[in-house]
C-alpha cells in the first residue's frame, strides 16, 4: 500500500436478508394450521436472519454492495452520491465498522470519526454537559480530550445558558447544534459524513458545512455522502457515483453529478406533457405541450448561449374564458439550483382572459444561460389559485454561443449566467 493512501477498499460486498411477502391463505383451515405451525416457521425465519448458505441467491437476499474497490489518499475530499438504495450508507457503515462486509476487505490508516447521525447516544434526561461527555466518549474521545475542548464545543453550539438543563428541554435547533458541535470537535484523521446536513435550519446547515470544509482544509481526509449536489460540487474534489451497489463513476465531480441527475430525470422527460400525472393544482388549466425554438432551429431541445429563444407552451382549459392567468417558468441548473424565472406577473403581463385552448409564448432575447443542462418547471395560477404545476417538466441543453458578439465565449467553469455589461476608463489625474 502506497504511503499516501489512507483508505484502500478491495472488492467489498455486503449482503442482506430482507422480509418477504407473507403467505396469504385462502381457507380458514389453512390459516389456522399456519397459525399453529407459526412458532416453528418463526424460529426458522429469525434464525435465517443471521445465516447464509454459501452462494444462496434466494428472493429475500439483496446485495447492497457488489465488489466495490477504490482508494483514497491523505487529505482528499471524496464525495459519494447515488440514488436511495445505491449502497452509499452501507459503504460508510462498513468503513465505520458498524456492520461487517460479506466479502472483500478495507484497510484504513488513521483514526476514523463517523458522523452518520447527529446526537448518537444523547439521552434526553441528562444535561447538555453530561451529554457532551457521553457523546464524545461514544465517538471515541477520551475524557481528558473532552475536558480540553469543552468550552469550544459549548461556544460553537451557542448553548452556554442551558448547558446544565436536561436536553429534553432543548429546542430541536439547540439539540441538533449541540450534537453537531461535539462531532465537529472530534478531530479525526479521517471523517466519514452521511447526510447529517439533512437536519436543522439553514443557519445550522451553513455552520455544519463551514466546519466540514474547515476540516477538509486542515488536510484531513473526508468522505461525504449527500443528496445535495451543490454542496458536493463545492466541497469535493473527487466523486464516486454508486448505483445498485456498484461504482458507476470514480473521478470527476461534474461527470458524476450529471450522470446522477440524468439517471433521475430520464423517466420524467420522456413522458409527453399532456400525459404527465405528477402534477399539482386544481386542473382548470393544463399544460399539454412544450416547444422551444430559436432563429436557427425551428423546434429543438438544444439552444445556444446568446440566441433569442422562444418558448411555446400549449394548454387546455376546462372552460371558456379563464380570468387572470399567470404563468411562470423557473429555470434550474444541473445541480438543482434555481437560476432565474420567466413570470408573467414580473413583467406585468398576466393574461386577463384566455380561451379554452391556445398557447403561451415567451420570448427571451439573448439567452444568458451558460452551456449545460437545465431543467424547467411549469407553473400556472388562475385567479390566484394554483391550476397546474409540473416539476422537471422539460429539460434543455444549452451549447456554447457568442453572447457578446465578440466571438469570445465564457469558460464554462465560471458557471451561472452571462450578463450584458460594458466597460470604460477614467483617469484620476487632476485637471
Amino acid at each position: 500500500m502506497m504511503s499516501n493512501t489512507v483508505i484502500k477498499v478491495e472488492n467489498l460486498s455486503k449482503r442482506y436478508r430482507i422480509g418477504l411477502k407473507e403467505k396469504i391463505h385462502e381457507t380458514f383451515l389453512g390459516a389456522l394450521i399456519s397459525w399453529v405451525k407459526s412458532p416453528i416457521y418463526n424460529f426458522r425465519r429469525l434464525q435465517k436472519l443471521s445465516q447464509f448458505v454459501e452462494h444462496e441467491n434466494s428472493d429475500d437476499i439483496i446485495w447492497a454492495l457488489r465488489s466495490i474497490s477504490f482508494e483514497v489518499k491523505h487529505g482528499e475530499v471524496l464525495g459519494i452520491i447515488g440514488r436511495n438504495g445505491s449502497g452509499k450508507s452501507t459503504l460508510l457503515k462498513i468503513l465505520s465498522r458498524i456492520t461487517e462486509p460479506t466479502e472483500g476487505r478495507a484497510q484504513i490508516i488513521g483514526r476514523v470519526g463517523s458522523l452518520l447521525e447527529v446526537g448518537t447516544g444523547f439521552h434526553p434526561e441528562l444535561t447538555g454537559r453530561e451529554n457532551i461527555y457521553l457523546n464524545s466518549a461514544i465517538l471515541g474521545m477520551k475524557k481528558a480530550e473532552t475536558d480540553r475542548k469543552f468550552d469550544e464545543i459549548v461556544d460553537f453550539a451557542e448553548v452556554e445558558k442551558f448547558i446544565d438543563t436536561p436536553v429534553k428541554r432543548y429546542s430541536s435547533g439547540m439539540y441538533v447544534r449541540l450534537a453537531f458541535a461535539v462531532a465537529a470537535y472530534l478531530e479525526p484523521e479521517i471523517l466519514l459524513v452521511d447526510e447529517v446536513l439533512a437536519v436543522g435550519d439553514v443557519a445550522f446547515q451553513k455552520k455544519c458545512l463551514g466546519k466540514i470544509s474547515d476540516v477538509a482544509k486542515e488536510g484531513r481526509t473526508v468522505l461525504f455522502v449527500s443528496h445535495n449536489m451543490a454542496v458536493i460540487s463545492n466541497l469535493c474534489e473527487r466523486c464516486l457515483l454508486l448505483d445498485s451497489g456498484r461504482i458507476v463513476i470514480d473521478g470527476s465531480v461534474n461527470a458524476s453529478i450529471e450522470c446522477y441527475i440524468s439517471s433521475i430525470q430520464t423517466l420524467n422527460q420522456f413522458i409527453p406533457l399532456h400525459s404527465r400525472v405528477d402534477r399539482q393544482g386544481n386542473g382548470r388549466l393544463r399544460f399539454t405541450n412544450f416547444k422551444i425554438s430559436s432563429p436557427t432551429r425551428a423546434i429543438t431541445d438544444t439552444v445556444v448561449t446568446g440566441e433569442n429563444v422562444s418558448l411555446t407552451i400549449e394548454y387546455e382549459a376546462d372552460s371558456e374564458k379563464l380570468k387572470n392567468v399567470s404563468i411562470s417558468i423557473p429555470f434550474y441548473n444541473h445541480l438543482g439550483q434555481p437560476i432565474f424565472m420567466c413570470w408573467t406577473r414580473l413583467v406585468g403581463q398576466d393574461f386577463e382572459l384566455v380561451e379554452r385552448r391556445g398557447r403561451f409564448i415567451v420570448e427571451i432575447p439573448k439567452l444568458p444561460l451558460m452551456p449545460g443542462k437545465y431543467s424547467l418547471n411549469l407553473y400556472c395560477e388562475v385567479n390566484g389559485v394554483l391550476a397546474d404545476w409540473i416539476q422537471e417538466a422539460v429539460s434543455i441543453t444549452v451549447l456554447e454561443g457568442d453572447f457578446f458578439g465578440t466571438g469570445m465565449t465564457l469558460p464554462s467553469v465560471t458557471g451561472g449566467v452571462a450578463i450584458e455589461h460594458s466597460w470604460r476608463y477614467e483617469t484620476s489625474e487632476a485637471n
Partner: protein, 284 residues
C-alpha cells in the same frame, strides 16, 4: 473484525471475521471512558425527576421482605435456620435483587439502544456489561440498609464479611455471563426479552431466598445439596447469609460449585456474544 495496531498510527483491516474470539481487553481499556460514562448514565437516568430518588433502590427488597415475612415466615412457617425471618429473607434479597435487575437490564440492553450501535462503532460488549456494573450502586445502598436491619435485631456481622467481595465478584461474573448470552439472543429472538421477567421470578424461588439450603440436605441428602451448588446464586446467597448473620459456616462447597458454573457462563457468554456481534446492526 481483525484489528492491527501499528507503532505510530492506527491501522485497521476490515474484513469478514471468521471463527471465535474472546474479549479484546486492550480495546476495552481504550474505551474505558465510554464504559464509565455509560454506567454513570444508567445510574443517573433511573432516578431523575423522581421524588424518592435512590430510595427506590431499597423499596423493592424491603417490601419483598415484608411480604415474605408475613406469608412465608408468619403463615407458612418456612424454617429459617433459627434466625428471625425478616433478616433471613432480607439478607438474601440484597444479592438477589442485584442479580435479577442486572439480568433484566442486561438482557434488554441491546434492544433498547439500537441507535447507538447502528450509528457508531465501539466494542459492543460494553452494552450488556453496563447494567451489571450500574446496579452495584443499588446493591450497595440495599446492603447498608441490611446492616441497619441487623442492628435492629441485635445481630453482629461475623469476620466472614471479608469474603463478601469474593461473593460480589461471583455475582458480577454470573450476571455478566448470562447477560452476554441473553442480550445477544434477545436481539434476534425477542421471546427472550418477553420471558425474562417471569423466568426471573421462577429463578428466585429456585434460589434459597425464601427458604434455607438446609431444606435440600434434609429432604434430598447431601449429594443433592452439592449438585444444587451448580446454581451459582445458591452459593452466593447462602454465603451472604453466613457472612452477615453467622448462623452457619460459610458454604464453601456450594460456592466452589457455583464458581465453576459462573466461569463457564462468562467464557461461553463472551464467545457467543462476540460471534453474534458482527450481525447486530443487520439483525436489529
Amino acid at each position: 473484525m481483525a484489528t492491527n495496531k501499528q507503532s505510530s498510527t492506527t491501522s485497521i483491516i476490515i474484513q469478514p471475521s471468521k471463527g471465535w474470539k474472546l474479549i479484546d481487553f486492550k480495546e476495552l481499556k481504550e474505551y474505558r471512558d465510554l464504559f464509565y460514562f455509560l454506567i454513570l448514565r444508567d445510574i443517573k437516568v433511573l432516578y431523575k425527576q423522581t421524588v424518592l430518588g435512590f430510595i427506590w433502590a431499597v423499596i423493592k427488597p424491603l417490601f419483598s421482605m415484608v411480604v415474605f415475612s408475613v406469608i412465608f415466615g408468619g403463615l407458612a412457617k418456612v424454617p429459617s435456620d433459627g434466625i428471625p425471618y425478616p433478616v433471613f429473607s432480607y439478607s438474601a434479597l440484597v444479592p438477589w435483587t442485584y442479580f435479577s435487575s442486572a439480568l433484566t437490564g442486561s438482557t434488554s440492553s441491546l434492544i433498547g439502544r439500537a441507535s447507538i450501535f447502528t450509528k457508531v462503532y465501539f466494542p459492543r460488549i460494553i452494552i450488556p456489561l453496563t447494567p451489571v456494573m450500574a446496579k452495584l450502586l443499588d446493591f450497595g445502598i440495599a446492603l447498608i440498609i441490611c446492616f441497619g436491619l441487623m442492628a435492629y435485631y441485635g445481630i453482629v456481622p461475623t469476620v466472614n464479611v471479608v469474603w463478601i467481595p469474593l461473593l460480589i465478584c461471583l455475582m458480577v461474573l454470573t450476571s455478566s455471563g448470562i447477560g452476554m448470552w441473553l442480550s445477544a439472543l434477545a436481539l434476534q429472538y425477542r421471546d427472550i426479552k418477553l420471558g425474562i421477567n417471569f423466568v426471573s421470578q421462577l429463578l428466585m424461588y429456585a434460589a434459597p431466598v425464601v427458604w434455607p439450603v438446609s431444606l435440600i440436605a434434609e429432604k434430598f441428602g447431601d449429594k443433592a445439596k452439592l449438585f444444587y451448588g451448580f446454581y451459582p446464586m445458591a452459593g452466593v446467597i447462602e454465603g451472604f447469609r453466613s457472612a452477615l448473620l453467622g448462623h452457619n459456616p460459610m458454604p464453601w462447597s456450594l460456592i466452589g460449585m457455583g464458581s465453576i458454573t459462573s466461569v463457564l457462563l462468562f467464557i461461553t457468554g463472551a464467545l457467543y456474544f462476540q460471534r453474534k456481534e458482527r450481525i447486530f446492526a443487520d439483525v436489529f
